[in-house]
């Protein structure tokens, strides 16, 4: 009896230690997702279709989540200003189509066009964030919102002419959604796509993400990368060591913005549509909560956090609607998604930041 109790004590102790190491919220979400996977086949959902859906959604969103990493590293906090990067991406996408590129080529043309735009916008954004150290997150949010609403006007006013993109009857002003068929729809996903029964794996997209993640990892281990991390974890020390703090932060913001632009292009090629106007407004929040679910905090993030977080978040987002619908015939997924993702951000914001930041 006593032995039993002792064993339980150590077991619970061990579980608790593991839970602490892994992070309780993450554990709960992982458990929830696992439950979904187990339940899905029993309620009449094809297991492999579900798996492919999750992998697909993962491949669409992973780079958007990766875009969080540089700014967290340099101590600029969570990049709520991701819409700015997304806008550069959208400009790249629409300009590439306007210039007459088609097929897979249009994807790379879009990246090429989006790059200078995102660098310029990112530089301005980074300059602003350097002026307001300490209040980054709130201002980032509103920079994102302002730029999106500004672009709402621009989408109507800019002189686009390509008939696939403008409103048919007016002949001007971009449509709210633009189909990418004939352009870069599945440009990456179709590359070396694996199909086994109902299982579909978008190899190209995953490889592209792997490449980006690797580059990010490698960058963080270069001299510049480590300097950036130093700026994030201890700005005073970094300054004393001769690192130009403002330049590092600026660089990280540009990098984040560029990755945001890239991320939206990858998202579009998977999704098959360009969404303009109000669509980018709240795109930062899922990415932010994804990386937090992956175990990142306001000032610490790794590539592993991106991987785990995107998988858990997108898994939850894809699985809950189908499973919920077949189990209780109530679509509560919407509510669950909002509560979980926002709850996660709140949890991260209320935790004391390590190193006593600000």
């Amino acid at each position: 009896m006593r032995e039993n109790l002792a064993e339980r004590n150590t077991l619970s102790g061990r579980v608790r230690a593991a839970a602490n190491a892994f992070g309780l919220p993450r554990l709960i979400i992982a458990g929830f997702l696992l439950l979904m996977f187990i339940v899905a086949p029993f309620v009449g959902n094809d297991f492999w279709t579900q798996i492919s859906n999750v992998i697909n959604r993962f491949s669409w969103n992973a780079i958007l989540v990766l875009a969080m990493v540089p700014m967290i590293h340099s101590g600029c906090g969570l990049n709520f200003g991701l819409p700015l990067g997304i806008i550069s991406g959208l400009l790249g996408a629409t300009l590439s189509i306007e210039c007459g590129f088609t097929g897979t080529l249009s994807f790379f043309a879009a990246i090429l066009i989006a790059t200078p735009i995102s660098v310029v916008l990112g530089a301005g954004y980074g300059w602003l964030l350097n002026k307001i150290k300490g209040g980054e997150m709130m201002i980032a949010t509103y920079v994102g919102f302002s730029s999106v609403s500004f672009m709402c006007m621009m989408w109507l006013l800019l002189p686009y002419h390509s008939p696939t993109m403008v409103w048919g009857f007016a002949g001007k002003g971009l449509r709210t959604t633009i189909s990418l068929e004939g352009f870069y729809d599945k440009a990456l996903a179709g590359f070396w796509q694996i199909k086994i029964g109902t299982l579909e794996i978008p190899t190209g997209t995953l490889l592209f993400f792997a490449l980006m993640a690797f580059l990010m990892w490698a960058f963080l281990h270069t001299k510049t990368g480590t300097a950036m991390t130093a700026v994030g974890s201890n700005p005073t020390f970094a300054k004393a060591a001769g690192v130009n703090v403002d330049r590092m932060r600026l660089l990280s913001v540009i990098l984040s913005t560029w990755l945001g632009a890239l991320g939206i292009l990858v998202y579009e090629q998977g999704f098959g549509f360009i969404q303009l106007y109000n669509a980018p407004f709240y795109m930062a929040l899922p990415a932010v909560s994804a990386i937090l679910i992956g175990g990142a905090s306001v000032n610490k993030a790794s590539i592993a956090n991106v991987l785990i977080g995107t998988f858990l978040f997108q898994g939850m987002v894809t699985m809950t609607p189908t499973v919920m619908n077949s189990v209780i015939h109530m679509d509560m997924s919407e509510v669950i998604r909002v509560v979980v993702s926002q709850g996660m951000i709140l949890y991260a914001l209320t935790r004391k930041t390590e190193g006593g930041g600000r």
């Binding site: 602003l128 997150m137 920079v143 109507l156 509510v335 926002q342 709140l346 914001l349 209320t350």
Partner: protein
């Protein structure tokens, strides 16, 4: 510090401190003639919107006093108000009694939500704004859970005109036709075609008096002390956490009242969207009035409502007049709301940094003098 400033420098300083209101005056001055609205129509609209919105905006003042910045979580109070109104509509209580009942009913809800919000914000000192902003989203999820799934089977809602046909959840719009403008119509006076909702303005006046009085109470003084410097206030024996909590609770309860006033004027509840933008519009209006993150007065509220809503009314028509597309104006006013908040936040943060570095310089100079004295000895 120079004692006297030349007139030009003073004017420049005034302009840089009040850039947002000045900008808005210019926008309005350009847009009003372009929109082609008649003066009486414009006045009527502005007066209506003043009655509708001022109460909601006033509730932002108290958290600012306590140094907690712009309370984006005022939407929590709005949600409480909406839930109360849904119940009242379900029980078919009409007219002014319905409004009064809803106001009483929302108090416990908003106190609860305010306590929740306040205790979360106490754990996120220094980033209250972004946290309160996320709280408003988080609670919106919970609100949907309650209103869309629990109302019906768990929380009794019997009225067919409110409930979704599937048997649970509330419809997208709940009609408040039977209490529409019932407050506004009491003692309403029409002067030159402009209807003035006297009772609503009286209620607002009472609230303004309350705020003025509140500033002078012990609690109000404590709040200002906490807002100035939390550590100093704590040393002076003030319960910092408790004071902050109370300021949020008061704000939330007041937002609940404000939302009920707002909705009785509108005459229906958009169950899932009425509250979501209210925070943003109220904050934008307050900032347009020249308030900043750490300083706001009742005057800012009134000026802000007038300027912001004038812009709001005239922008679509003016946009259509300029570009031939009314959507441009719609987007323009949304852009203005967001842009104003952005500018105000940036100005606040830069000022804060400048002050900080100024004090740091002064400290450094003092320290240098000390060492020089030491060396002289």
């Amino acid at each position: 510090m120079e004692e006297k400033k030349s007139f030009g420098a003073a004017a420049l300083e005034f302009a840089s401190n009040n850039i947002v209101p000045i900008l808005f005056v210019v926008i309005c001055a350009v847009c009003i003639p372009l929109s082609g609205f008649s003066v009486s129509y414009l006045l009527n609209e502005i007066v209506t919107r003043m009655g509708r919105n001022i109460f909601l905006i006033l509730c932002l003042l108290i958290p600012i006093m306590a140094g907690m910045g712009l309370n984006f979580a005022m939407t929590l109070g709005a949600m409480a108000g909406e839930i109360a109104l849904i119940f009242v509509a379900d029980w078919q209580i009409w007219g002014i009694p319905g409004v009064v009942l809803a106001m009483i009913l929302q108090i416990p809800f908003s106190i609860l939500l305010g306590l929740l919000c306040g205790s979360i914000l106490n754990r996120a000192k220094g980033r209250e704004m972004i946290t309160s902003y996320i709280i408003s989203f988080f609670l919106n999820g919970l609100y949907q859970l309650v209103v869309l799934f629990m109302m019906g089977p768990i929380i009794p809602i019997k009225h067919f005109s409110i409930k979704l046909p599937r048997g649970y959840g509330i419809r997208n719009t709940v009609s408040l036709l039977n209490m529409r403008q019932c407050l506004d119509n009491v003692f309403a006076v029409t002067i030159g075609g402009v209807k003035i909702p006297v009772l609503t303005f009286l209620i607002i006046a009472v609230l303004c008096l309350f705020i003025v009085w509140f500033r002078k109470t012990k609690l109000g003084q404590d709040m200002r002390a906490v807002g100035q410097d939390m550590e100093v206030a704590r040393d002076a024996g003030i319960h910092v956490e408790r004071t902050r909590l109370i300021s949020i609770v008061i704000s939330t309860v007041m937002a609940g009242f404000g939302m009920i006033i707002y909705l009785q004027n509108m005459g229906n509840i958009a169950t899932y969207s009425s509250h979501s933008q209210i925070g943003m519009f109220c904050i934008a209006a307050l900032l347009v009035g020249g308030a900043s993150v750490d300083r706001a007065s009742i005057g800012n509220v009134f000026l802000g409502v007038i300027l912001f809503h004038t812009m709001f009314i005239v922008a679509p028509r003016a946009g259509a007049a300029i570009t031939g597309d009314s959507m441009i104006g719609e987007y323009f006013r949304v852009f203005c709301s967001y842009g104003v908040i952005t500018i105000a936040l940036v100005m606040y943060e830069t000022k804060k940094r400048r002050n900080k570095s100024k004090t740091a310089q002064e400290l450094a100079r003092a320290a240098a003098e000390e060492t020089a004295k030491e060396a002289a000895k």
